[in-house]
Subunit: 343 residues, 2 copies
DNA sequence: TCTTAGCACTCGAACCATTAGAGTGCTAAC
DNA sequence: GTTAGCACTCTAATGGTTCGAGTGCTAAGA
């Protein structure tokens, strides 16, 4: 159990280290007005805190830095949310200035704004495109041998792919096909599309369209929407601004990870609502053992969710980032739900 | 004027430094079979080369490294192209394995392949979308107040944008509008689109469509294609692999530049055909004074061009990169022209 | 005249010792 | 329980020394 004073000293130590990135000594702390104790008293308390595992020394006669456990305690018990400065609120709001904007645009801007306001790296996961439903399908022939397949979803997202068409095909056949497709597949989610395509339309094609087999098979391939996460980054280079990262190899392995979207699920715990903080080795990836990641989910309409993550050093300004993420996730949910509803 | 021997020694020095990234000494060189001279002889020659400005010393008693002038001479007179290894040729060819691919796909893959084969950063400039012509326009209403405008170009590229529509608009009006648009604007380049839109269609709308003004103005805005370069990067992180870059600040300013596409015209000399090499301070941007950039153009159909750039340290493997770029630019021109022709 | 062996010289990198300073832990006095 | 005082520890900075790679110059050899 920690005494009142130990608590206070832990808090001030962490705060100071977060700000200065330098090991914190007892003399330094005794000068702060929050701590009306002598250096010796503070030393005793710090020694206790070290014994309990909340603080560490980088070497025998150095000041202390928070340990992983120290950060954890700080984050769990000492994050008194202070309100966001007006300036920041205004900036956040400016994301939504455009009244008619695409979901993607809004998310991109959010990522940029976050990385700018925090000086850390922001990762935003957008809505899963495969849950969107088909609003309209069309096929635009490009020449004699290829055409573009276009899917517009209920959210206004447009997927398109070029696919080969059998030579000498009657243009009216394509028209017929598009009509059937739209009749049968409107409202189907992109996820189910290729299954429903077969179930609902194949037999009809067989009746109405000459040479349906070739056309159908190439079209079907074009229409498979890849299961790829909808990731937006901003401020990747902010890592280079942090004094915590000086080892070029660590920087590289960190950036390598963020380059590959397949690592995203490892970085961001998916699905869980509310705000999550992962400190140092609490992260799944060993390359991130010097990082902290703060994640929060947001809603897009009733069913879908996205998430926001901030990746920074363990010595991250937790207070500020938590407040920012809290605010933004609320605003984003509101705004994106509004955008979706309109359609 | 350089003697035969000086030439040889300059070449071997540059080659050695490119490979080892270490200052080259006379002893070291004398061991190479190409140079059957004593260290003293080589020293004399190197001293001459230094006096003439082709070599530099990092300090009084160090080996030599090529100066900017040295690299320049090397590049201008000593790049005997050796044929590309079979392995590399095969890899390059694999870019074009997909017979029906989109231009963008091919370019993206080329960038990735180049960065992989060279271990430098590759930048590819795609065709200017604004020179493409309209194949088909369509408008898909999303709800009561917005719609997606879609433009398919002759190349199979799809541009789309959400725009607001006046409330309570008759759907048939939109249909009419789309018909007129397609009748009048097919074949117009995206660049001219917004001018021609006014010239060719405004008066017709006025006759046929109720409340044309509101609809027209929002649609017109949606259809303005931004003049943004079509840039693809690959291997940005390769900079971190080079031993030449150890200063984190230099790395950052370099990466900062590449993050912003507005700097691209400064990096790549535009329009000039053939292969261009810029060494160190020959680059326009001061942040790139430690880099060399090799640029080459490629053709897309008859009129359009794109360009390829490789950004690496001054100590770049010029021979290899030049050969790779030469080959790829030829292949790309052929392949992309074929793709465009087909449509 | 060109080449090369030899040698003195220079400089950086690595190693070691020393010092200053920041910080600690402990003890004893308040 | 708090704090002043003090001995102690360790880092970072400084300076001296050595080692080795490399140079420039000179003079001998081809």
């Amino acid at each position: 159990m920690l005494t009142e004073r130990q608590l206070l000293i832990l808090k001030v130590t962490v705060d100071d280290y977060i700000e200065s990135a330098q090991p914190v000594g007892s003399n330094q702390l005794s000068k702060k007005s929050e701590l009306p104790f002598s250096p010796a008293t503070i030393r005793n308390a710090m020694a206790d805190l070290e014994k309990m595992g909340f603080l560490e020394k980088t070497h025998t006669s150095s000041g202390r830095i928070p340990s992983q456990k120290g950060y954890r305690y700080y984050v769990d018990h000492m994050l008194t949310p202070r309100p966001l400065p007006k300036q920041d609120i205004l900036q956040l709001q400016s994301i939504f200035d455009d009244k008619i904007a695409e979901t993607e645009q809004v998310i991109k801007r959010s990522a940029m704004m976050l990385s700018e306001l925090t000086n850390y790296t922001a990762i935003l996961l957008g809505p899963d495109v495969r849950k969107h439903t088909v609003k309209k399908l069309s096929i635009v022939p490009l020449g004699s041998d290829s055409a573009v397949a276009i899917i517009v979803t209920n959210s206004g997202h447009v997927e398109n792919r070029i696919f080969p068409i059998p030579p000498g095909l009657d243009p009216s056949d394509i028209e017929k096909m598009v009509n059937i497709l739209n009749e049968r597949l409107a409202g189907v989610s992109l996820n189910d599309l290729h299954i429903r395509l077969e179930q609902e339309t194949l037999s009809i094609f067989r009746q109405h369209i000459n040479r349906y087999a070739e056309l159908f098979s190439t079209f079907r391939e074009a229409v498979v929407v890849p299961h790829e996460e909808n990731v937006y980054y901003a401020g990747k280079l902010n890592i280079l601004k942090q004094p915590d990262f000086h080892d070029i190899h660590k920087i590289r392995s960190l950036m390598d990870i963020m380059e590959e979207s397949k690592h995203i699920p490892m970085i961001m715990p998916h699905g869980s609502l509310g705000l999550q903080i992962r400190i140092g080795s609490e992260n799944t990836l060993s390359a991130m053992e010097d990082c902290s990641v703060i994640t929060v989910a947001y809603a897009i309409g009733e069913e879908q969710t996205g998430s926001i993550a901030i990746v920074g050093p363990k010595r991250m300004d937790y207070k500020r980032v938590v407040t920012l993420l809290d605010t933004l996730s609320g605003d984003l949910s509101k705004e994106l739900t509004r955008l979706i509803r309109g359609k």
